[in-house]
């Protein structure tokens, strides 16, 4: 497909990897965090880490929206879905995530709850329109890429006078999460986690623009390179980061110029601002409460806010004690460091957040990396055409 295949060329990938190896200073190490789950997935799928020299390491960040949704919010959604008047619309990835009692939306559906998987917020609107007798709730999650679609759904619902439509808002914001990682004691106290630079998200950046990262680059003196989602994009971004680190620079660079601008999608930003406001604090699975990191509907749309409309309650729930997701999401540990990995915890029986979606670090490693750790180098980059 156009704009995809040309960024997957295996020969070029190996050539760039060689350039990375010759550019990287053998006397130092480079720890680069990819924030976004989409990048985590690409890196695992194409075995990109195997192409990189040993002193250039990727650290997986918390940018998988399904993974960072606290179980308490899942529990609240399940409780709501069990009400006979409610139709809960959700993205597919959320169906299998379990709450603290081992329940999932899938299980709730099997038990009679009206849970419908939607591909788009537009589908949820259609259901609300077609079935006025049902109370249709959109279980909205995700970063800045899914927030504008939720905002537009609300806008359309209001325009059409769909009084039976509301939103359970769990949207989160990327810059706050990056900030919290950089502020976390593990990163601040030198020596525990080393992060030398960031591969910035692709499509989140298409919405918020590269300017959103300028503050971190400056304040924390870390380079950020926004990268596209294909393997050559990621490799080129790594090379750009290595060069910045060598030069002692820490600026925001844009590898994904074909889709991302400095200011981002202003129209989408306006739609977000029209309908949402920051919460004082929001819980992230694995990272805990982060200030100013989540969104809720503005008070003037309270009638469409499922949390208010149905007096929803969220209970705090802890992950399995042995689960290392917290450390993995902050880049301190790798999936294989967890005792439960691939034994008790698999994508079918996820114990922690990093295993619940294919974009989570543990799930990506389970699917693509598990058998490879031994065979490193020999089949490097095999998956690229």
């Amino acid at each position: 497909m156009k704009y995809i295949d040309e960024y997957r060329n295996g020969r070029l990938a190996r050539d760039i990897a060689r350039q990375i190896a010759s550019t990287a200073d053998p006397g130092r190490s480079y720890h680069l965090m990819e924030f976004c789950g989409g990048h985590t997935h690409v890196i695992s799928r194409y075995g990109l880490e195997d192409l990189l020299p040993d002193n250039v390491r990727m650290v997986h960040g918390p940018g998988c929206p399904v993974c960072v949704l606290p179980i308490g919010r899942i529990g609240a959604a399940i409780a709501l879905a069990m009400r006979s008047d409610i139709t809960l619309c959700t993205y597919g990835d959320l169906m299998r995530v379990r709450d603290k009692n081992g329940w999932s939306l899938l299980k709730a559906k099997a038990a009679g709850a009206d849970v419908r998987m939607v591909y788009s917020t537009l589908d949820a609107l259609k259901i609300a329109e077609a079935e006025p007798q049902r109370e249709v709730v959109l279980f909205a999650i995700g970063f800045e890429t899914t927030t504008p679609p939720t905002a537009l759904a609300l806008k359309t619902a209001i325009a059409k006078g769909l009084g039976n439509f509301s939103i359970f808002c769990n949207h989160v914001v990327t810059p706050a999460a990056i900030h919290s990682i950089l502020e976390s004691p593990d990163v601040r106290k030198l020596g525990t986690i080393k992060i030398d630079g960031f591969v910035g998200p692709a499509h989140v950046s298409a919405v918020i623009g590269t300017k959103a990262y300028e503050f971190f680059a400056e304040e924390f003196r870390k380079p950020v390179v926004v990268a596209g989602f294909e393997p050559l994009d990621v490799l080129q971004a790594v090379l750009m980061l290595v060069r910045q680190i060598n030069d002692g620079r820490h600026v925001v660079e844009n590898q994904y110029i074909r889709a991302v601008t400095r200011l981002g999608n202003v129209k989408a930003q306006e739609e977000i601002a029209n309908f949402f406001e920051l919460r004082e604090s929001f819980e992230w699975r694995g990272l805990g409460e982060l200030p100013l990191s989540g969104l809720r509907l503005r008070p003037r749309y309270a009638a469409y806010d499922a949390e208010k409309r149905y007096s929803m309650v969220t209970f705090k729930a802890e992950d399995n004690q042995a689960c290392e997701c917290g450390s993995i999401l902050r880049g301190a540990k790798k999936p294989a460091d967890c005792k439960l990995f691939a034994t008790v915890c698999t994508p079918d029986t996820p114990m922690g957040s990093c295993m619940v979606s294919s974009e989570g670090a543990c799930a990506a490693h389970w699917t693509y990396g598990r058998f490879r750790t031994k065979a490193r180098q020999s089949n490097a980059g095999r998956a690229i055409a």
């Binding site: 917020t121 504008p148 074909r258």
Partner: protein, 75 residues
């Protein structure tokens, strides 16, 4: 769910909608988040919405930069 892919706009429809082709399959998506959509444009499709347009010149430039990087010239 973060999957977002480049698709080609086939036809611009009323109410900020458009038909696109995705692996040869025709799909109706919302273009309410972007301006000036025309047939032949490539957009990034995410959960039923076009998030942004792909800039063909910048795409060419990126490929050129990738080729340069692969050959060892500073980008």
């Amino acid at each position: 769910m973060c999957l977002a892919i480049p698709v080609e706009v086939k036809e611009v429809l009323p109410d900020d909608m458009a038909s696109v082709t995705l692996d040869g399959v025709l799909k109706i998506i919302s273009t309410a988040l972007i301006d000036d959509v025309r047939p032949g444009d490539y957009v990034i499709l995410h959960v039923g919405y076009a998030l942004t347009k792909i800039n063909p010149e910048e795409a060419e430039r990126t490929l050129a930069l990738i080729h340069e990087a692969a050959m060892g010239n500073a980008t």
